[in-house]
């Protein structure tokens, strides 16, 4: 003998459409499409054959016979893109390292030592950030000529370092200021000398901030176009943005959509990887570094 009792489960009662969830997910989907659409389009274009790119009816996803890696091959074989990648990486890495290497000690000094005229220094740093950097370009061109730096990596490294410096100093200074001073005092009592203390105690706690500012500086240097276009004319020293912009078709009237898209992907990929890789580090660093709880 079995009698069935109507069991009231929450699911059984929920008959209506969960509007909240629908709304939330459609909002998420829209946001993702909006921000990821263009890069996805570039990525898809870069792996389509030329005929698929220019086909009358738009090909969104290339079928198997429309798929090709020819554009990438061409970039590296015909256009020597590995050289440009190297150039970009060199310039961006060196300027980022210089920026952090010079900027953070300056920021530390501004945060910790009581220097007369500290406010003036900070005001100057701030004023520099207000300049649109394009305005500096003509003056810099004269400088580069006068110093004979044209077609020298330094012509890019020095301005990139300088342009990123205010941001580095301001961000790092406020970071240092909120580091508890007791920690440094404690290290001094433990017997660390100043260099050891900065290196073994302060630096590990500073890593998240260093990575964040470093990424910003790197992205700027990697993407910069105007200086790179003007100060460097030798083919073998060009950076990716310049090289990508100067990609030509086989004929004067052909726009090389495929290679352009491939160049864009190659130019963006390192940044994406960089951010993804360090994002985990940043989060790790932040949680491990917390003193309060």
């Amino acid at each position: 003998m079995t009698t069935t009792h109507p069991t009231a489960t929450p699911q059984a009662n929920a008959t209506g459409i969960p509007w909240k969830k629908v709304l939330l997910w459609s909002a998420i989907a829209l946001t993702v499409i909006f921000s990821l659409g263009p890069p996805m389009w570039e990525l898809l274009t870069s792996i389509k054959t030329n005929s698929a790119i220019t086909a009358d009816s738009v090909v969104y996803f290339p079928s198997l016979d429309q798929f090709t890696v020819e554009h990438y091959v061409q970039l590296f074989q015909r256009n020597q893109f590995h050289i440009y990648i190297f150039n970009s990486a060199l310039v961006a890495i060196v300027s980022t390292v210089l920026c952090l290497g010079i900027g953070s000690p300056a920021a530390y000094a501004l945060a910790r030592l009581r220097i007369p005229g500290e406010q003036i220094v900070l005001a100057c740093v701030l004023v520099v950030t207000l300049f649109p950097y394009i305005l500096l370009f003509l003056g810099l061109l004269d400088l580069v000529r006068a110093l004979g730096l044209a077609n020298n990596y330094l012509a890019l490294i020095i301005p990139y370092t300088a342009i990123n410096m205010p941001l580095t100093i301001l961000v790092m200074r406020s970071f240092f200021q909120q580091l508890p001073k007791d920690l440094e005092d404690s290290a001094k009592i433990d017997g660390y000398n100043t260099v050891q203390m900065l290196w073994q105690i302060v630096l590990p706690m500073t890593l998240p901030a260093l990575v964040t500012t470093g990424i910003l500086a790197f992205i700027f240097a990697w993407n910069e176009y105007i200086f790179a276009l003007t100060f460097i004319t030798r083919e073998s020293m060009k950076t990716i943005p310049v090289a990508a912009a100067q990609l030509g078709g086989t004929t004067l009237f052909e726009v090389p959509y495929g290679p352009l898209a491939a160049a864009t992907v190659i130019g963006t990929l390192p940044l994406v990887l960089l951010v993804l890789f360090f994002q985990r580090k940043i989060v790790q660093g932040l949680t491990a570094g917390s003193v309060k709880g």
Binding site: L183, S186, A187
Partner: protein, 356 residues
């Protein structure tokens, strides 16, 4: 053999900001000195000067007969516990304790032995592999303490180490601290503004105000014979009754009641009378100095009642008395005895103690 000696220590941040003025004191082995005083009186500054974290403007600091004034903090062989604990967030508990020892080039075996014994005392064994962020406040506090203990320093310095703990835990750690430091030989300098800590932990208490040392004595001496009006008001809870009274010949008038002055206090036009609420009592046989008034406030403290009485004969004279909770008395016209041996007399001008 690591006597800590401060001689004429002065610290001036600027012409007007002088938080420590001409301070001289010594702390011997096996002594526990507590610095107490209101906020901003220079306690932390003194500790930081002993540690070498703050430059001394004048005077000397010596440890074990050695003048350490010009030495860097790391060369003074001291250990300090900070109010914020200041644990290195990126190191494990073990490394936090070991870092200072590694820098002193101690062998790995030695380091392990010291950390083991300290972590046993403090119950840190299960926590050695954790980071500070994975510890509770009380555990962090013990790690900070452990870091100081393993150093086996010549002097221990502690700056309000218990102030971040909740009341219950504080009481427990206070008891632990007392046991731990009783086993240590090195002198301890402890900063607090909690007078219970000062009274229970120390062998000597230094009361500071506005940069000056007001009194340096054993805790019960400070309580029984405060050197001046400031100490009298600062030490003891509830606060001592302090009243400035006009002198009439050999006595003063408290409201309409005459209080006999001891010989030493028979000068000046007025004197300050001080008596602790816990020494004011309901009259017993043989009490001669009795005052009367009306109760206007009763605060129940559990074991006793803190009673505020407006004395007859003057509207603004208020006497607070601590009466046993089981005693009976009337709110109107209550009688209270002021035992002469419990009354403190202070000079109006210098505020110094008059009776011996």
């Amino acid at each position: 053999m690591a006597k800590l000696e401060l001689q004429n220590l002065t610290k001036a941040y600027s012409k007007t900001v002088v938080p420590v003025k001409d301070l001289s004191l010594t702390v011997d082995d096996n002594e526990f000195l507590t610095l107490v005083g209101p906020s901003g009186c220079g306690k932390s500054t003194i500790l930081r000067m002993i540690a070498g974290l703050e430059q001394v403007t004048q005077g000397t600091v010596s440890i074990g007969g050695r003048d350490v004034t010009p030495l860097a903090p790391g060369d003074r062989n001291i250990a300090m516990v900070f109010q914020s604990y200041a644990l290195y967030p990126h190191m494990t508990v073990y490394d936090n304790m070991a870092s200072g020892l590694k820098l002193r080039k101690l062998g790995v075996g030695d380091i392990q032995k010291r950390i083991q014994s300290a972590s046993q005392v403090l119950g840190l064994d299960p926590l050695l592999d954790r980071r500070p962020s994975q510890l509770s406040g009380g555990q962090r506090q013990r790690v900070a303490l452990g870091r100081a203990l393993v150093r086996e320093p010549d002097v221990f310095l502690l700056d309000e180490p218990l102030s971040n703990l909740d009341a219950l835990l504080r009481e427990q750690v206070r008891a632990d601290l007392k046991q731990i430091f009783e086993r240590q030989e090195s002198p301890v300098v402890y900063v607090t503004h909690d007078q219970t800590e000062a009274m229970t932990l120390s062998t000597k208490v230094a009361v500071l105000s506005e940069g000056y040392l007001q009194q340096l004595d054993a805790p019960n001496e400070i309580y029984r014979r405060p050197a001046n009006r400031f100490v009298a008001g600062f030490i003891g809870s509830p606060q001592m009754n302090l009243m400035t009274l006009e002198r009439v010949e050999n006595s003063v008038l408290l409201g309409e009641f005459k209080i006999e002055l001891p010989d030493a206090a028979r000068k000046g036009s007025s004197v300050i009378l001080g008596i602790r609420p816990e020494h004011v009592r309901l009259p017993q046989e043989g009490d001669c100095q009795i005052v009367r008034g009306d109760v206007f406030l009763v605060e129940n403290l559990g074991m006793s009642d803190l009673v505020s009485v407006r004395l007859h004969g003057s509207d603004d004279r208020v006497l607070r008395a601590m009466l046993p909770a089981d005693a009976t008395w009337s709110r109107e016209n209550i009688e209270l005895a002021l035992p002469p041996q419990s009354i403190h007399w202070f000079d109006v001008e210098t505020e110094a103690r008059l009776t011996s």
